[in-house]
Amino acid sequence: MYGWIWRRLPGPTPVRLVLAVALAALAVWLLFTTVFPWAEDSLPFLKVTVDS
């Protein structure tokens, strides 16, 4: 998977390295802003209210 991505990145190795780091950062940003806030709704210790 990572090899497949690496082969599809354009440019010489330094450019690919920068692009790879940027892709990884984008993935982490998506996780922190979208995926994790969505996933944590089901975490038990966020339920602190009484409701029926």
Partner: protein, 256 residues
């Protein structure tokens, strides 16, 4: 290869390319198996990294974000309090302005949890509101009013204002500062209930039909700390109130 080539000989790319497109060649059966195993391994490693990141998000990032949001709310409250109350337009009743959901309107101090413990109280108990401070159940009364002033707070992650609420018990003070007054509540008892026990935030908890005559407070959070099977509840009542202009109440000064 070059010494007997004609001067204008251009070698075909498969001779000059340092790695003659080995990876793009149709994979043999053996390397197909290898690719599958490698991809599965990469997926597993990725899943492990994502889970680690999620733990870091929960334990570090949510607290960082919540504390930043809380200081934003604290600024908003101080701004609101400094602004002179809007003069009522003629003919309008001078009722208390409604607090909007998510808006901060008070500070809660619990000396047992530290001298510096001061957390903004926001309207509403949605996850969005609770990430910005202690949340006030909108259908309960405001601080100092007759009835039950009920709040909820996170006990783990997202600022976790009630992380150590189990250390607060009978006789401890819970102090609420609003734009006009200080309210000192004292805890009467602690109870662990089911998540569906909505009666704990009734105007008179335990007496569903009673007409409220006292100013009560209820604090709710999850119990055990990292689970949701129960709720930790603290009940208290108002013991004193004073104008905000008179400065902090004695409970805050001696740190009791």
């Amino acid at each position: 290869m070059t010494f007997n080539s004609p001067p204008d000989y251009v070698p075909p790319p498969e001779y000059t390319s340092p790695r003659p497109a080995r990876s793009r060649r149709a994979p043999s059966r053996r390397s197909a198996g290898r690719t599958t195993v490698r991809s599965a391994g990469e997926l597993l490693i990725t899943a492990g990294l994502v889970l680690l990141l999620f733990v870091a998000y929960q334990l570090v990032w949510t607290n960082y974000e919540a504390h930043r949001a809380q200081s934003g709310v604290a600024d908003q409250i101080r701004d609101d309090w400094q602004r002179p109350p809007a003069s009522p337009s003629p003919g309008e009743p001078t009722a208390d302005p409604e607090v909007e959901l998510g808006e901060g309107f008070a500070f809660m101090r619990i000396p047992r949890l530290g001298k510096k413990y001061s957390v903004p109280v926001v309207e509403g108990v949605s996850l969005g509101a609770l990430a910005r401070g202690i949340g006030h159940y909108p259908r309960t009364v405001m601080p100092g009013e007759v009835g039950n002033f009920a709040v909820a707070g996170h006990r783990a992650t997202h600022g976790e204002p009630f992380a150590y609420l189990d250390k607060v018990g009978k006789g401890d003070a819970v102090i609420v500062e609003t734009s006009t007054e200080w309210f000192v509540y004292r805890i009467d008892r602690t109870k662990i209930v089911e998540p569906t026990d909505v009666w704990v935030i009734d105007p008179v908890p335990g007496h569903p039909d009673a007409e409220p005559t006292k100013q009560l407070i209820t604090l709710t959070t999850c119990n055990p700390r990292w689970a949701s099977t129960q709720r930790l509840i603290l009940f208290g009542h108002l013991v004193s109130r004073q104008d905000r202009a008179d400065g902090p109440p004695p409970e805050l000064r001696r740190g009791a």
